[in-house]
Every structure is written in structure tokens, then in C-alpha cells.
């Protein structure tokens, strides 16, 4: 474990914590503009977090300790996920602790805890949200795993750092398996982050919501942690997509200069990605909950085809 490695690990965590709400603010701003609304400021998510942390938490009378622990667990899981994914550098001391499969497991852990917490109070919307979240989860999780497999077949490794290093060093050729994987990954990310074709982050219409239904009973600092965790999740998924499909600019070991350059490159990539996300959300309509299995089934099939293509063509 080099000093530079520890430094880049620390930097990654701090950047993730700080940039994640900004990314959400950026997407919200663009979405408002695209929909001809006046947009909130870029820093609005920070203000919301600050306000929520200041408020007292109102907890249902019969809520169990699980309900109060879940926001911290979900937040920690998302933070750990952002620390594992090579966003700025591939030289991360924490990375050997979890490879691509463990990363999927980490997301699943967070999902299970947030769903259990939603069931804890025992309200109609909470359990409905938990059921829908787990429905999307069990469809999206294998698809995500297959996307990661199609990427990890290229260097024959599930270590995210190795994958990114290998992909960054190839010539600018398109891997057919990654093309399939990229489409599938986009669909999965939309579903996992409660974005428009699957869920609407701005909705408060009870019967259509998924993510909002899960956190309906939360307030104060617990809600703040969950909101922050949600933005960290969006950040982590974006960075994972960038690392797999556009890995150029991520620093490698023993390269302090690259590390300095990696941050502006990342911000640029995320800025463009955020605009694209806002565009996608504006251009499409939310689908019925029972269309979601078809949507995610398609993503799953595309990811499997990606893996098959890799095995058949050998590239």
C-alpha cells in the first residue's frame, strides 16, 4: 500500500461525497431547463441536506432499531461502493477487498436493508415500495452482473482495477460485447437509480412511486442520509459506467500527474453524462410497473448476448 495509493483512495471518497449531490443538482437543473421550467440552483441538494440534518427525526412509535440503523447502513454501503469503483485512480488500497461481484453484492445489501426498513413501520405504501424495489432489484441485479462479466472476460479478471487498466490501454476499437453491455448498463442504471422510464424521482403521486415510497416514513437526519446515499448511488453507477465504457483519463499507480488531471476529466465526463440523463428522462415517459420486467428482461438478454458474443468471437 503506497502513500500515493492511500492518498488517491482518500481523495476518491471525499470527491464522491462532495460531487454526488452536485451531480443530482446538475441533472435536476438540466431537466428543469429542458422542460421549460425555472431551475433550482446547482447547490440546492446541499441546502436540502443541511436543512434535513438540522431538523429533528420523527420516528414511528413502533419502529424497531432496524429502522434507525438502515439509513447508516445504506449510506455506508454506497460510500464503500464509490470507494471501490476506480473513479479517479486504479491504485486503490480498498479495491482488492471487493471485485465486481462483491460490488453487485454491496448494492444488493443496501437494497435489502432499505426494503426491510420500509417494511418495518408496516404501512401500506412502505411494503408496496419494498416489494417493487425488490422486484426491480432481482431483475436488474443479474443483468448488472452479466454486464460486468462481459467486461471482465476481456482481461479475464473480475477485479475492477484490472478491468479498467486493460480497457484503458486498448486501441480505440469497439468491442462488440461491450456495445451490448453498454446499452444494457444504461437501462439497468436508469432502473436502479429510480429514473424516469421506471420510476420518477420527482413524483409524489403515491401509487406510482417506488423509491419515494421506501423512504416515506423517514425524516430529519435519516432522510438526509438516505438522500445522500441515493445521490452516491447515482454517482457510483455513473462512475462505473464511465470506468467500463470510457476508461480514458483514470490514473494508474505511480502517476501523480495523472491523478491531478483525473479530477477535471471526471467532472467533464459526468457533466456530459448528466445532461444526457436529463435528456433521456425528458424524452421518455414513465412505464407501468408491469412493463418494467420486460424492460429489464431486455437489458438482461442484451447483457447475456454481450457475453455470448465475446465467447463466440473471442474479442
Amino acid at each position: 500500500m503506497s502513500i500515493l495509493g492511500s492518498l488517491s483512495q482518500l481523495l476518491e471518497i471525499v470527491v464522491a461525497l462532495l460531487l454526488a449531490p452536485l451531480l443530482v443538482g446538475w441533472v435536476n437543473q438540466w431537466r428543469a431547463w429542458l422542460q421549460n421550467k425555472s431551475a433550482p440552483g446547482l447547490l440546492q441538494p446541499y441546502r436540502v441536506l443541511h436543512k434535513l440534518f438540522n431538523k429533528e427525526s420523527v420516528v414511528a412509535q413502533h419502529a424497531s432499531p432496524l429502522f434507525r440503523a438502515a439509513p447508516y447502513i445504506v449510506f455506508s454501503a454506497m460510500l464503500l461502493a464509490s470507494a471501490i469503483i476506480p473513479t479517479l485512480s486504479t491504485d486503490l488500497p480498498l479495491a482488492p477487498a471487493a471485485d465486481a461481484i462483491a460490488l453487485v453484492g454491496l448494492f444488493a445489501l443496501a437494497r435489502v436493508f432499505i426494503s426491510l426498513a420500509a417494511m418495518d413501520v408496516g404501512t401500506a405504501f412502505g411494503t408496496m415500495g419494498a416489494r417493487r424495489e425488490m422486484l426491480i432489484g432481482f431483475l436488474a441485479e443479474p443483468a448488472l452482473l452479466m454486464v460486468l462479466f462481459s467486461a471482465s472476460l476481456i482481461p479475464k479478471s473480475t477485479s475492477l482495477a484490472t478491468i479498467v487498466e486493460t480497457l484503458a490501454h486498448r486501441e480505440l476499437a469497439i468491442y462488440p460485447s461491450l456495445a451490448f453491455g453498454g446499452v444494457a448498463f444504461t437501462m439497468i442504471s436508469l432502473a436502479e437509480n429510480a429514473r424516469v422510464p421506471v420510476d420518477n424521482p420527482a413524483t409524489h403521486l403515491e401509487l406510482t412511486m417506488i423509491h419515494e415510497a421506501l423512504i416515506l416514513e423517514y425524516s430529519g437526519r435519516h432522510l438526509a442520509l438516505l438522500e445522500w446515499a441515493a445521490s452516491l448511488k447515482l454517482f457510483a453507477y455513473s462512475c462505473l459506467g464511465l470506468a467500463l465504457f470510457l476508461p480514458w483519463g483514470i490514473a494508474e499507480a505511480h502517476a501523480p500527474l495523472e491523478l491531478v488531471l483525473a479530477l477535471p476529466v471526471l467532472v467533464l465526463k459526468l457533466a456530459v453524462g448528466g445532461v444526457l440523463l436529463a435528456l433521456m428522462e425528458t424524452a421518455s415517459a414513465k412505464m407501468r410497473i408491469f412493463r418494467v420486467p420486460e424492460f429489464l428482461g431486455t437489458a438482461f438478454l442484451l447483457a447475456v448476448i454481450g457475453v455470448l458474443v465475446h465467447i463466440l468471437l473471442g474479442v
Binding site: 454491496l106 484490472t162 437526519r221 438482461f300 447483457a303
Partner: protein, 674 residues
């Protein structure tokens, strides 16, 4: 003199036999006080648990020593019992000992009076069951194996029908006995093929035979039939969701967690030890059957409304995953890719151990719930985390492990299994290489669905509001029950956090079976789990957990330091709806509804939907099994028809019987005189 000085050098095998004898003794002691619950529960069951711990310790130490054999002059004259303790047997003995120690401790607080069979008799059956499982693993000839196998089947049959006053339980027991015996015939025939007309049924002789591919395949398929029936592989699974829930909870735990593993043991013994070589298509058959069982099991588990049936279906899923791992190992071994075979086999064995712990934990958890509330139906439970926190939190550990979430035991085995699939490209057949991603995708789907099922299981039982008013009086589990659950939960956690250490144990088994192991690579990398190479894949559960715990603690401390920790208790918000009640939560049916809709072709569903004008609307949905309808019922009907024809012979008149004798005599004379 020397012989006198050194008589006490006991081998590990002797200790295992002593453990089995001690179990039999404990069981017999139960007979002397049939209805004395205090004696049976507070003395005999804990003693049985202590003996089980001894077994686990002895077996653990035997993992690294050379095989030991013994011949006991029991049984028929001229047919002594052969026993052999090698790493494969030692591994399974360790699983049996470590799991049953926790289950026995739980059972000490579980059994009550007035539940059918008296406690003393239950104690006898229970300990015979344990001893026979240990001896099955130890047997080294077909004769001893079959005797122990049948003892195991019979003792567990009597345990299943412990509550024999209920007709459904008797039916479940009958079905179990029937399929257990169909399986036993398969195993017997398989041994018959393996001894290759030499008349010598010791395993040593079978190892020495060189069967032609045809007869080897016959032995393999018969063993698959026999051991598959015992472990609940589709389509021989129908008894499992009937029999496992019918038994008292500690027995369900033993049957699901340990008895299914003896079938896995027997299958590994035949496939890798007794048969000289493996053929590639065996692996394909195993992969297909294993995956079919895994998908079938988890999809059915997700829609169950009875908590013990849910767990039983989930056992089918887990056994399916184990057989998938074995199938992959066979495939690799057939192409002589031994390091890969070792990886797949390690995954299967790891899953054997972790399933043993988490499934017994979950089953005894349902036992505690059952005793506290008297309810097995998920639709009548809820909110129990507030009334029985110990049981709830310990069950949560088991549920998370079962859902395959890091950093617990279930995740490690799934991780290893997926790793072995990822390294597969390189098989000499392109057809097989194409199969691999599909198989990996299905495993990923099964893992994700088990998360769904476990959220349903835990959430509906322990979270939310109590769905019945009397649940408020649910009492906490007693100290013995807690102790047993704590032990099993610790097992789940240890298997999750110390995979490298555990794989070094398994290494000796894979070296015995496929002549390769992960031990050396794993040992070199310390706390990280590195199956092949650090650049290829690594997983460090301890660092993983520390990372989670550190960010949890930091977030907690910082929020309190920078802001505050105030909290106010109020009524639930629920979008401001004031008339909500416990009935408005999702029921178990409701939670399973998406699965019923998405996987509709899997089920045979009967729906009763109320019309808007019904005075007393009834909503009912019954989920059935296609296999039962299309395979078992026709067979049962055919058997019944045949026996009716044969029944016509029985006329009840003496003249008719005399006629039969006369015709037979004439026929025999005709044959003889010709």
C-alpha cells in the same frame, strides 16, 4: 508391556465411532423416562449437543491426516461393517457435528409435552438419526452404507410424523418414505453395477474396478437417481416441501441442513471416488438438473405463504446450486482441467457448509416463532422483532446469509461459483462454452431471487405491525433456544469472514477427489480470498466489513457532532392517512404477486376472484406444482389401476384359489416334463 503402555493411542476414527455410540446411548436413556421432559430436555439433548461438538473437533483434526480404516464384526456373519475416515468423510462429519451441536442446543428448549410422540421417544429417534448420518458418511462398504442409509431414512420418517395425530403429517411422512425408498433402490443398483460381478461390495474393491463407459454411466445415473431423490433434485423434489415442514422445527433443521448433505456426500463419493473417471456429458446433465432445481426451488419459495414450506423450497434451490457446482467440477475433471475442477468443487463444498448453517438457523428461528405464536402461516404473523428481538436479529443473520449478501457465508460460495464460471472459456467444446454464460446468468438470477424471498420471509414475519392481535403476547425464546441460534449465527458469520481459512480445510478434500486444490494460492494471500491470482479476482470480507463499520461509525458520530441526535416518536405518517391498520400491509400472497405474474408458466394456479357484487367476497389463490399434476398423479393412477386388476385375482372363494393351485401345478408339470 509395550502393548499395555500404548493401548490408548486412539485414532480419530475410533473417536467418531465413540460419538456414534454415545448418541445411541443418549437416545436409549431417553426411553427410561419417556415423559420426563426435564430429564430429556435439560440433560440428554445438551449432552447430545456436546457430543456433536466433539465430533466436529475430531473430524476437523482428521482432515489433515491419512485415511484410517476399521472393520467391525457387526451385522450378518461373514459381512462385517467396514469404516473409513478420509478427508471427504471428515469434511461432512465436521458439517454434521458443527450444525447439529447448535440444533441440539435449540432442541433442548424446544420440545414440549403433548405434541404427539412423547419426548423420550423423540430423543431416541433424534439421536439414532444423528448417529446414522455420521455412520453413513463413515461407511466403507455398500452393506454398511445401505444399513445406515435405511436407518437414517426410517428414523427421520418417525421424526417427521412426530405429530402423527394430524392426517396431513401422516401423508407427508408416507410420501417421504416412498420416495426415499425409490431412491434407495437406485443407490443399491448403482452399488451393484459398481462391484462389477466380483461379489465383493467393499468400496475398496469398487475403486479397483475399471468399468466400461457404458456401465460407468449406468452407475452414475443410478446414483444420480438415488441421491437426487434424497436431496430433492427436480423432478424428485415433491416430498421435500411436504416432509420438511411437517417435522418439528429442530428436525426440519437437521433434515434440510444435514440430511440433504449426506446425499451430496454419497453422490460425490460415487462420482469422484468410486468411479474411475468422469465423462463430460455427466457434467452437462448435472448442470441442467442443478439449475432446474435452483430456479424451480427459488421461484416456488418466493410465492409460499407458509414459512416452513418457504424454507423447504429454498433448500431445493440451494441443493440445486450445490449440484451445479458439482456438475461444473465433473465437466472440468472430464477434460482434465483439475485446478478449475477444484475451484468448482470448492464452491460446492463451501455452499454445503454455509447452507448447513444458515438453513438450520432459519428453521430453528421459525421453530421459535411457531412456539411463541402458534402460527406457521406468514399471513398471520408480523411485527415480531418487537416481542422477540433475539430471535429476530439472529434470524436476520441467517436470512442475509441465505440471500447471498456479503460479508456472510452464502455470498462466498456464490462468489466462488461465479468465479469458476468466468474462468470456464477454454473448454475444448465450443458448444459447452456457449452454454456457460447462460448458466452463469441463471445463477445470478437465482441469487437475486433469493434476496427477494428472504426479504419477504424476514419482513413479513418480523417487521411491520402484528397482523393478529394475540401476537402481542408472543414470548421470548428461552436461553437454550437462544444459545443454539447464537452458535449457528456465529457459524454463518465465521464462514463469511474467514473464507481463506476454511478453504484451506477444503483443500484436502479437493486434493483427494480431483488431485488439485486452492490451498496454496489462498494461503499465500493471507486475509484476502484469492482463488487463482490477485490480478484476476480477490475478495476480502474482513476489510469489506471494516470498511462498512468504519463509515457507519463515522457517519453516526459526525452527524451527532455537527448536528444533533434528537428524535421524536409519533404515529406513522403514511401520506397522512389516519385509518390505516395492520391489514393494509402486504400479505405474503401480495409480496409474492409479482413473482406469480412474471413466472406464471411455472405454476399451476387456481384463482378465486370475487366479483364486485359478492356479499361475502373471497379471494383465494392456490399455487400448485406442474410436476405433481403431470408426473406423480398419472403414475399414482396407473399404479392404482394395475393393483385393481391384480385385485381381481382375489375372489375370496376357496374353490377359485384351488383352481389357481391346480393351474399352476399343471403349468409347472408341463415345463418340467418337456
Amino acid at each position: 508391556m509395550n502393548a499395555l503402555l500404548e493401548p490408548a493411542r486412539w485414532l480419530a476414527l475410533d473417536w467418531v465411532l465413540v460419538v456414534a455410540a454415545a448418541w445411541l446411548l443418549i437416545g436409549t436413556l431417553g426411553l427410561f423416562a419417556l415423559t420426563n421432559l426435564g430429564w430429556v430436555a435439560k440433560v440428554l439433548f445438551p449432552a447430545g449437543g456436546a457430543v456433536a461438538l466433539l465430533l466436529a473437533g475430531v473430524a476437523g483434526s482428521a482432515m489433515f491426516s491419512a485415511p484410517e480404516t476399521a472393520v467391525l464384526p457387526l451385522g450378518l456373519p461373514g459381512l462385517p461393517f467396514h469404516f473409513r475416515l478420509d478427508p471427504l468423510a471428515a469434511f461432512f462429519l465436521m458439517v454434521i457435528g458443527a450444525t447439529s451441536a447448535g440444533v441440539s442446543a435449540f432442541a433442548a428448549g424446544y420440545f414440549r409435552k403433548g405434541e404427539g410422540t412423547p419426548p423420550g421417544l423423540l430423543c431416541l429417534e433424534y439421536h439414532i438419526f444423528l448417529a446414522s448420518m455420521a455412520l453413513v458418511v463413515l461407511a466403507d462398504d455398500a452393506y454398511a452404507f445401505m444399513v445406515m442409509w435405511e436407518t437414517m431414512a426410517l428414523s427421520s420418517f418417525f421424526l417427521v410424523i412426530a405429530n402423527h395425530r394430524i392426517a396431513e403429517i401422516r401423508q407427508a411422512g408416507y410420501l417421504y418414505l416412498l420416495i426415499a425408498h425409490i431412491g434407495a433402490i437406485g443407490i443399491l443398483l448403482s452399488f451393484g453395477v459398481l462391484q462389477a460381478n466380483t461379489g465383493d461390495y467393499t468400496f475398496a474393491n469398487m475403486r479397483a474396478q475399471h468399468l466400461s463407459p457404458f456401465w460407468a454411466s449406468a452407475a452414475f445415473l443410478l446414483a444420480l437417481l438415488g441421491f437426487g431423490a434424497k436431496s430433492g433434485i427436480v423432478p424428485l423434489h415433491v416430498w421435500l416441501p411436504e416432509a420438511h415442514p411437517a417435522a418439528p422445527s429442530p428436525v426440519s433443521a437437521l433434515m434440510s441442513a444435514v440430511m440433504l448433505k449426506t446425499a451430496v456426500y454419497g453422490f460425490l463419493r460415487v462420482t469422484f471416488d468410486l468411479l474411475p473417471a468422469q465423462l463430460w456429458w455427466w457434467g452437462v446433465v448435472l448442470l441442467a438438473l442443478g439449475l432446474a432445481s435452483a430456479v424451480f426451488g427459488i421461484v416456488f419459495a418466493a410465492v409460499q405463504v407458509d414459512m416452513k414450506r418457504l424454507l423447504a423450497y429454498s433448500s431445493i434451490e440451494n441443493i440445486g446450486l450445490v449440484f451445479t457446482g458439482i456438475g461444473l467440477a465433473v465437466l472440468f475433471a472430464a477434460y482434465e482441467m483439475n485446478p478449475m475442477a477444484a475451484l468448482a468443487l470448492t464452491a460446492a463444498l463451501y455452499h454445503v457448509a454455509s447452507h448447513a448453517f444458515f438453513k438450520s438457523l432459519l428453521f430453528v428461528g421459525t421453530g421459535a416463532v411457531l412456539h411463541a405464536t402458534g402460527q406457521r402461516s406468514l399471513g398471520k404473523l408480523g411485527g415480531l422483532i418487537r416481542y422477540m428481538p433475539w430471535v429476530a436479529w439472529l434470524t436476520l443473520v441467517g436470512a442475509l446469509a441465505s440471500a447471498g449478501l456479503p460479508p456472510l457465508g452464502g455470498f462466498v460460495s456464490e462468489w466462488l461459483l461465479l468465479q469458476s464460471f468466468l474462468f470456464t472459456p477454454g473448454l475444448p467444446s465450443s458448444f459447452l462454452n456457449m452454454l456457460i454464460p447462460v448458466v452463469a446468468a441463471l445463477i445470478a438470477l437465482v441469487a437475486a431471487l433469493s434476496g427477494y424471498t428472504m426479504v419477504k420471509f424476514f419482513g413479513v414475519i418480523f417487521l411491520g405491525q402484528p397482523r393478529e392481535t394475540n401476537l402481542v403476547h408472543a414470548h421470548r425464546a428461552g436461553p437454550w433456544e437462544r444459545a443454539g441460534m447464537v452458535w449457528l449465527a456465529l457459524g454463518c458469520i465465521a464462514l463469511g469472514l474467514l473464507p481463506a481459512q476454511f478453504i484451506q480445510l477444503v483443500d484436502t478434500v479437493t486434493r483427494q477427489l480431483v488431485a488439485a486444490g486452492l490451498g496454496s494460492t489462498v494461503r499465500a494471500s493471507g486475509w484476502l480470498l484469492v482463488p487463482v491470482d490477485i490480478d484476476r479476482a480477490s475478495y476480502g470480507p474482513v476489510v469489506f466489513l471494516l470498511g462498512l463499520a468504519a463509515s457507519f461509525a463515522l457517519a453516526f458520530a459526525l452527524v451527532r457532532r455537527l448536528y444533533h441526535g434528537r428524535i421524536r416518536r409519533a404515529a406513522p405518517w403514511d401520506c397522512g392517512y389516519p385509518w390505516q391498520n395492520a391489514r393494509m400491509q402486504d400479505t405474503a400472497e401480495g409480496f409474492g404477486q409479482p413473482i406469480r405474474q412474471i413466472f406464471e408458466p411455472f405454476f399451476r394456479m387456481q384463482r378465486e376472484l370475487p366479483s364486485p357484487f359478492d356479499r361475502a367476497p373471497v379471494y383465494r389463490v392456490v399455487v400448485g406444482d406442474h410436476f405433481w399434476h403431470w408426473l406423480y398423479l398419472p403414475v399414482a393412477a396407473a399404479v392404482e389401476r394395475m393393483s385393481r386388476w391384480i385385485g381381481r385375482l382375489q375372489q375370496g372363494r376357496i374353490a377359485v384359489y384351488l383352481l389357481y393351485s391346480f393351474v399352476t401345478l399343471v403349468a409347472v408339470l408341463l415345463v418340467v416334463t418337456r
